[in-house]
C-alpha cells in the first residue's frame, strides 16, 4: 500500500476505468464522503454522490428500493453511510454478488475504513502493534469508530487496548470486546503509546450523558499535562472533525505528536486501495 501513496496519482488513474461508484449517504458527512469521492476519481471511476435524507421505512422508498434502483443503473460499488446500525449489512445481503458494498459508517456499529486508515497511520509511525498500548478516549457508547478500532487492534495483536470515558458513555460489557475500561483519564493514559480521541457529539448528550462541555473537558479533555502521563513518544490521533477545547486542546492537536493530518492524507490512499481490491484490480508490479 505505501507504494500506492508514493506513486504519482496518474499511475492508478485507470484501475477503476468504466466502473461506477455511488456514494450513498443517508447521513450527512463531508469528510468521509469527500475522501471516498477523491479516492474513486483518482482511480478513474465515475463517482456519483447521493446525499439523501432517508424517509422512515414505513413511508416512501425504503433503503432497499433506493439501492435496487441505482443497482439497475450498473453501479459497481456502493459506499454507504447511514444513521442506523446494520444498514450496510442489510444492503450487502440484498444485492448481487458482483455489486460491492463499502460501509462508510453505520449507526453506532462500525466505520471500518476509518479504522483501517488509522491502523495504516499507526503502522507508518510506530511499526509493530504487539508492543503497543492503546487508549481510545471519549464517547465509546455511540462511536462506530471506536468499535471498528477495537476490532482492528484485536486483529493486529495490540498489546493492550483501553477505553476511557465516564460510565454514561461506556457500553455495557465492553470488556467482552477484549478491552479494559477506565473512567479515570489520568490512570487510563498512563504509559500508553497511542491516544485515539473520539469526537464528542454534544448535541446527542441531552444534558444527561455528560452535564456540560466544561465539566467534560475538565475530566476527559486531552491537554499537554495529561498527555505527559502517556509514554514519552506517544502519538495522538483523532478521526475529525475535532472539537477544540472540548475533547482536545489546540496545542495538543497541532503538536508534532499529532498524527491527525496524516490520517486525513492516508484516508484517501487507504480508500483507493480498498476500492481497487474489491473490484480485483491491483496496480502493476504490486503483489
Amino acid at each position: 500500500m505505501p507504494s500506492l501513496i508514493r506513486r504519482s496519482k496518474k499511475q492508478h488513474a485507470s484501475l477503476l476505468d468504466s466502473h461506477t461508484v455511488v456514494n450513498l449517504f443517508f447521513e450527512d458527512s463531508t469528510r468521509t464522503r469527500t475522501t471516498f469521492e477523491i479516492a474513486g476519481k483518482r482511480l478513474g471511476a465515475s463517482v456519483i454522490n447521493l446525499n439523501t435524507a432517508r424517509l422512515s421505512t414505513k413511508k416512501g422508498e425504503t433503503v432497499l428500493d433506493t439501492v435496487r434502483t441505482l443497482e439497475a443503473m450498473d453501479t459497481d460499488i456502493f459506499v454507504v453511510r447511514d444513521s442506523a446500525s446494520g444498514t450496510a449489512h442489510l444492503i450487502a445481503r440484498h444485492v448481487p454478488a458482483h455489486v460491492h458494498i463499502i460501509n462508510a459508517g453505520d449507526g453506532r456499529h462500525a466505520h471500518p475504513t476509518q479504522a483501517m486508515l488509522d491502523m495504516f497511520t499507526i503502522r507508518e509511525s510506530k511499526g509493530d502493534f504487539s508492543q503497543l498500548r492503546f487508549a481510545i478516549v471519549g464517547d465509546i457508547l455511540h462511536s462506530r469508530v471506536a468499535r471498528s478500532q477495537i476490532a482492528a487492534l484485536q486483529i493486529l495483536g495490540a498489546r493492550e487496548i483501553r477505553v476511557i470515558a465516564p460510565a454514561t458513555l461506556l457500553p455495557t460489557e465492553i470488556e467482552r470486546l477484549g478491552v479494559t475500561a477506565h473512567t479515570d483519564m489520568d490512570e487510563g493514559l498512563t504509559d500508553v503509546d497511542v491516544v485515539m480521541m473520539l469526537r464528542l457529539q454534544l448535541e446527542r448528550m441531552e444534558g444527561q450523558l455528560i452535564p456540560s462541555s466544561q465539566e467534560y473537558f475538565r475530566c476527559y479533555g486531552l491537554n499537554q499535562d495529561r498527555l505527559n502521563r502517556a509514554a514519552p513518544d506517544a502519538v495522538v490521533m483523532h478521526p475529525g472533525p475535532m472539537n477544540r477545547g472540548l475533547e482536545i486542546a489546540s496545542d495538543v492537536a497541532d503538536s508534532e505528536r499529532s498524527l491527525i493530518l496524516s490520517q486525513v492524507k492516508n484516508g484517501i490512499a487507504v480508500r483507493m486501495a480498498i476500492m481497487a481490491e474489491l473490484v480485483g484490480m491491483r496496480p502493476k508490479g504490486s503483489s
Binding site: 421505512t57 446500525s85 449489512h89 468499535r147
Partner: protein
C-alpha cells in the same frame, strides 16, 4: 356427532393423567369414559396410536391484526393458522385499531370469531380508554360483553396512580388485569438486550432494568390493591426471581413467557438478523436458562406464542427500524414439545403450560379433558418432526426465525367443540 379417539396417549394436566386410553366426544363435549365404554355408538373412530391426545392449546397472547391492520393478517387467516397448529383458543390483546375499549368492540370481535368457526377468540378489554393511560374504561360493561380480563396491550401506562386505580376498579368486578412490564424511559428507542450483543453491534439497548423496575412497581401495586394479575411476558432471570418472591408472599399473580424466549437468546441475532427482533428483546443465555427453570418449577405458569404476523417489508429494514415480533402461533406446540424433548420439563407439565394453566388464568372452561367440558382436543405426534417452512404457514405472517429448521410435534387432528377443524 359422536367421536371415539382410540388408543392415544391421553395427557390431561387437569387431572395429571398420562395414560393410553380412548377419548369419547358426544354433542360437542367430552363424554364420561366409564359410561361411554358401556354404550357408545360412535359416528367416527380415529386411531390415535402413537399420538398424544390433549386439550386444545390456549394461546394467551396473539395479535390477529383485525381490526385495523388487515394488510398484515385477518381473523380468518390467523384463526385458521391457530387450529392448524392445535391452538383452539386465542386471547387477543385490545391494541387493535380501533382499540377494544367498548362492549360493541368486544361483541364485534367475538362475533367475527364465532362466524369464522375455527378457534375461539377471547378479546381482552382495554384497561384505559383508547389505551391512552388516562381514563378507565367501563369495565363492568366490558365484563358483561364477555371479557374475563383487561389489559393495556402494548401501550405503557406511565402514571402510577392510574395503574393503581385501574387495578382497584378491575378488582371490584373480579376482572384479571394483564400487565406487560416495561419502563418506557429505560426502554427508550432500544431494540435489543443491553449486553454483549448490543455493545458489539452498536444497537440501542433495552436494559433488563426496563422490565424489572416496571415489574417491581406493578407487583407493589398488585399487593396493595389485591387485584388478580397476570404478567403477560417476562424475559429475564431477575423477573423470574421477582415473580417467585411475589408468589411466595401470596400475591394473586401469574406469569407467562413467549415460546421463543425459551429457545433463543441475544446471541442468535448474529449480524443484524431482523427475524430475531422481538420486544421484550431476547436476552442472555443465562436469562433464557432462568426462564426455562421458571417454567419447569411453575413460577412461570404459561407459555404463549406472542404471535405477531407482519408483511414481508416489515423485516426488510435496518434492525432498529424493522418491526418487532414473530409470527409464532404455528410453533407454539412444537417449541413447547421441544422443551420436553430437551429434558427441561416433563411433557405433561409442558402441555399444562399451554392448556390448563392459561385456561385458569383467563377463567374459561376449556383446556381440560374432564367429562362435560367443551371438546377442544388436539391430537399430535410428539416424536415426528416437521421442517418449518414459512412459505407453508397458514398464517399470513411469514416472519419466523425457525424457518428452515426442524421442530418436533406434528398435528394430526384438532377439534373445537367436538367438531373436527383440522385433519
Amino acid at each position: 356427532m359422536k367421536i371415539k379417539i382410540c388408543n392415544g396417549r391421553v395427557i390431561d394436566p387437569t387431572s395429571g393423567e398420562d395414560q393410553i386410553r380412548d377419548i369419547y366426544i358426544a354433542d360437542g363435549v367430552i363424554a364420561d369414559p366409564q359410561k361411554a365404554q358401556q354404550a357408545f355408538s360412535e359416528d367416527r373412530e380415529i386411531d390415535a396410536t402413537g399420538q398424544v391426545v390433549c386439550p386444545g392449546l390456549i394461546d394467551l397472547q396473539a395479535r390477529l391484526r383485525e381490526p385495523g391492520e388487515e394488510h398484515k393478517a385477518t381473523l380468518q387467516s390467523e384463526l385458521a393458522a391457530a387450529i392448524s397448529a392445535g391452538v383452539t383458543s386465542v386471547c387477543v390483546p385490545p391494541d387493535t385499531n380501533p382499540t377494544i375499549d367498548t362492549p360493541a368492540m368486544v361483541h364485534m370481535v367475538r362475533q367475527r370469531g364465532r362466524r369464522i368457526q375455527k378457534a375461539r377468540v377471547y378479546p381482552l378489554g382495554a384497561l384505559t380508554v383508547g389505551l391512552n393511560g388516562e381514563r378507565l374504561t367501563d369495565m363492568a360493561a366490558l365484563k358483561e360483553a364477555g371479557c374475563t380480563a383487561v389489559s393495556n396491550g402494548d401501550r405503557i401506562i406511565d402514571n402510577t396512580l392510574v395503574i393503581r386505580r385501574a387495578m382497584q376498579y378491575a378488582s371490584t368486578f373480579n376482572l384479571t388485569v394483564f400487565l406487560t412490564p416495561l419502563d418506557h424511559w429505560l426502554k427508550g428507542n432500544g431494540c435489543v438486550h443491553e449486553g454483549e450483543v448490543s455493545t458489539r453491534l452498536g444497537l440501542p439497548a433495552v436494559p433488563e432494568a426496563a422490565e424489572v423496575v416496571a415489574l417491581a412497581r406493578d407487583l407493589a401495586l398488585i399487593e396493595t390493591t389485591g387485584v388478580r394479575a397476570h404478567i403477560t411476558q417476562i424475559s429475564c432471570a431477575r423477573s423470574v426471581e421477582k415473580i417467585r418472591e411475589a408468589k411466595q408472599r401470596g400475591l394473586n399473580v401469574t406469569a407467562a413467557v413467549s415460546a421463543h424466549h425459551l429457545h433463543l437468546s441475544e446471541q442468535d441475532i448474529g449480524d443484524f438478523d431482523t427475524r430475531y427482533h422481538v420486544m421484550p428483546p431476547l436476552r442472555s443465555l443465562a436469562d433464557r436458562d432462568a426462564l426455562r427453570d421458571g417454567v419447569a418449577s411453575g413460577v412461570i405458569d404459561a407459555i404463549c406464542s406472542d404471535h405477531q404476523p407482519h408483511g414481508l417489508d416489515a423485516k426488510l429494514a435496518p434492525f432498529s427500524e424493522s418491526a418487532s415480533g414473530i409470527a409464532g402461533i404455528e410453533t407454539l406446540l412444537p417449541l413447547t414439545v421441544k422443551l420436553a424433548h430437551e429434558g427441561a420439563i416433563s411433557l405433561t407439565d409442558a402441555i399444562a403450560r399451554v392448556t390448563t394453566h392459561p385456561a385458569r388464568i383467563l377463567g374459561i372452561d376449556v383446556g381440560t379433558l374432564t367429562p362435560g367440558a367443551p371438546a377442544d382436543v388436539c391430537v399430535f405426534d410428539p416424536t415426528a418432526e416437521r421442517l418449518i417452512d414459512v412459505s407453508q404457514f397458514v398464517s399470513q405472517g411469514k416472519n419466523h426465525p425457525f424457518d428452515g429448521k426442524t421442530l418436533p410435534g406434528v398435528i394430526a387432528h384438532t377439534f373445537v367443540a367436538g367438531i373436527e377443524v383440522v385433519n
